[in-house]
């Protein structure tokens, strides 16, 4: 909880402040879209933590799912395609008392933004990243995504995908994320817990949400996942064991694990950036008034 302690208020105090809820703008997703489950889970998680809405900033990229910040009442930044993470990092470093949540899709995060995905995790920035992974490009009407399965026929791959998909969980584990989980839009309560624990986790929390696209992905549907998912929590998985987490991350077939793969404690980027030990950057003094001795190095 330490990472969010400053932004999390006591229940009594919190009750007086507006909590994150729905905004006046209604989601524009297709009826039945998996993203409804994800937004419900995020809202539930933040409410449970009693973080006032003004201390939450939700950042997204571009894609169907990246419209999410518009539908909640916190602060938000709807950035360009693939860049939610660097924007989110900048916000975090400007004010590390804010709860920063980045959201987006698999194309946004693992395609155009994949470089940032890896680097943000190795830095262990204290924030939460929720990807709405539907294994397809929805907003551009159905092309293959980095997580589309081998052989899947899409508009851009009429003969089937011939590239191996990215495994976001394994990639996160390899990149040094300190909290790695997978949720499923078909189980909102479970996903809300994963996100809630992710926000409370001190460090980079990654939650890959299996969030079916009901319009363009006719393979990885709600039914597809309902038949396959099982919870790590009830299958004897030890989330402190990185090797075991890798092993589970490779399971994708008849059985698909959801839940917490891995969790560890490591100093965050904000812990190690000495300038931030003096408090949120946005509240520190700025400018060089009275610092004339600084010019001596040029004399």
């Amino acid at each position: 909880m330490a990472g969010t302690s400053a932004a999390t208020v006591t229940p009594t105090e919190g009750a007086l402040l507006p909590m994150v809820g729905k905004s006046d703008t209604k989601p524009t997703w297709c009826p039945g879209c998996g993203d409804f489950g994800v937004i419900a889970a995020i809202e539930m998680a933040v409410k449970k933590l009693k973080i006032p809405s003004h201390n939450v900033t939700i950042v997204s990229g571009i894609g169907c799912s990246s419209n999410l910040p518009h539908f909640l009442s916190s602060y938000g930044f709807h950035a360009i395609h693939g860049r939610s993470l660097p924007v989110a990092e900048g916000i975090r470093w400007a004010n590390h008392e804010l709860t920063v949540i980045a959201t987006g899709g698999d194309g946004d995060g693992f395609g155009i933004g994949c470089g940032h995905f890896v680097h943000t995790m190795r830095r262990n920035v204290d924030m939460t990243y929720v990807t709405m992974d539907n294994q397809i490009y929805g907003l551009t009407t159905g092309q293959a995504s980095p997580t589309s399965m081998m052989g899947q026929k899409t508009k851009s791959t009429p003969s089937g995908v011939i590239e191996n998909p990215i495994d976001p969980i394994a990639l996160a584990l390899a990149s040094g994320a300190t909290y790695v989980a997978r949720g499923f839009s078909g189980d909102v309560k479970h996903m809300a817990e994963l996100i809630q624990n992710g926000i409370a986790h001190k460090g980079f929390a990654f939650v890959d949400a299996l969030s079916p696209c009901v319009t363009y992905n006719k393979i990885n549907t709600f039914d597809y996942f309902r038949q396959r998912v099982y919870k790590l929590e009830t299958s004897g998985h030890d989330p402190t064991n990185l090797a075991k987490a890798f092993e589970r991350s490779l399971e994708w077939g008849d059985k698909i694990p959801i839940g917490l793969f891995y969790r560890t404690d490591r100093p965050t980027y904000e812990d190690l950036e000495e300038v931030l030990s003096a408090g949120p950057l946005a509240r520190q003094p700025a400018g060089l008034k009275g610092r004339d001795a600084l010019l001596d190095e040029f004399a």
Partner: protein
Amino acid sequence: MKEISVLAGGQAGDGIASVGETLSKAFTRMGLHLFGLNSYQSVIRGGHVSFLARASPDRVPSQGDACDVLYALDQQTIDIHLPGLSQGGTVVHDPEKFALPAERLPVGTSALGVPTLEIARKYTNQSILQNAAGLGATAFLAGIPLDLLQRTLADSFGKKKGEVVDWNLGASADGYKFAQEHAKPNQHALAPAGEPKLLLTGNQAIALGAAAAGCKFLAQYPMTPASSIMHWLAAHSRDLGVVVKQAEDELAAINMAIGASFGGVRAMTATSGGGFSLMVEALGMAGMTETPVVVVESQRSGPSTGLPTKTEQGDLNLMLGAGQGEFPRAILAPSNPAEAYRFTVRAFQLAEEWQTPVLVASDLHLSESYGTVDRAEIDLDVPVPPIATVEPNGHEYKRYRYTASGVSPRAIPGQPGLNFIAGSDEHDETGHLISDVKSGVPVWVAERAKMMEKRMRKLEGLARTTDPPVLEGPEAADVTFIAWGSTAGAVRDAMRILSARGVHANLLFLPTVYPLHGAAVAARLAKAKHPILVEGNYSGQLGRLIRAETGLEIRDKLLKYDGEPFYPMEIVRKATEVIEHGRN
């Protein structure tokens, strides 16, 4: 103008830059102004490097055309620089390293063989110490007092003490004394001339200006010639409370800076053309979300990887057009370190005032060359007002409220009751997108146009609040140069040379390249007898902008795209030619 130029040349790894920097600092401690040109290649060891220090009691706007004392560590330095040696010039070299036959020396020049290796061997078997001996001899010829040289050299080691420092001091004194016994100071050697000056590179001035303006966050990816901005701020990060983030790429760098600015701090990124090309999309996001951000674009020779260690002014078109669609921006172009400091401060103020990206256009020649300023020219007392311009007042808050100026009250995350969303999609006054289910619906079609107009109105404000063109030199002149950025330095030298020859020349300098201040430029051009565009690119990009904004074409152009900076005499020759041909 009384002046002396000293050039040290050798191979990368020879320590040429430190010889040049020590000489430069000693000159400025004599109260002299200076221009220091550090010329190098894109290799870490080997390859020719040189450092030219040109000093004078007067302002030194460029590297000039001559070299009075040439310290050559290798034969290649002789081959490249000997033709530039002035009348009365002296070559310092070590005959043990290479022979310099007297017949190779231009008439009226001389050579001083200094046993630098022999001196070095007195102390250690490391040949690098030859530098110190050569430095000593060169300093004597340049008129630098021995005690000042020794103090400056000792300072260059910082707090380091011990035998290495002692060896360097010893060898430099030996070299100095050898020269004293075997030669006279160069005829151009200068006497001390008053208050010591500050010596800094354009990039150091930019970094200092950013900190003074209240910058708390820099994200940058290494790229020559912008990297030393990050180096200076990183070295001072803790002391000044500035977070410096080396990002994974330039995409991340600018997006981090925009995020930090949105989060409530003044933020900057810096790069060269290649990196700026990657930042283009995010620049538009800053424009669209009305998030202030300062971007330093230090140009080098392009296209593509181009000449990574050579200068150019070839990115103006890129800076003008960076980003899809239209949004307000300003481009400020300093010509020397004093301006680099002031313009960077101003860039932060303008970005803040108009809530839009502001570019500082530098180039390798400004970023990496050394120049002097009087201490009084660097005013560190820059007001740093709070970033949020609105407090919760119980009323509905509209982040993108329509206003006459186009600027809307700004809140930052963490302020209760002002929650808003910044959208890279087109949005309404609250920030919510009107790009999907609303787009094409008549009421929102009108709203889109209104929001565009609100943003673009800020361009009028920028035109009003940025520095207008400056006319330097006499009101009436035979030739009028038009220049921007570092090129103005060589033009200022050229004007002085022309004036000594009885030719009146003036300079129309554009501190703000965009918005252009077209009316002022047009008024000036209308009065110009022989306007000459001087620009470091192939196609005359500023000339094209001027033509676009004023309808006036500057037909006489001096354009350079060989990677080298302008030299004053090139400009003098061009002016003479234009006047002789009488074209206007």
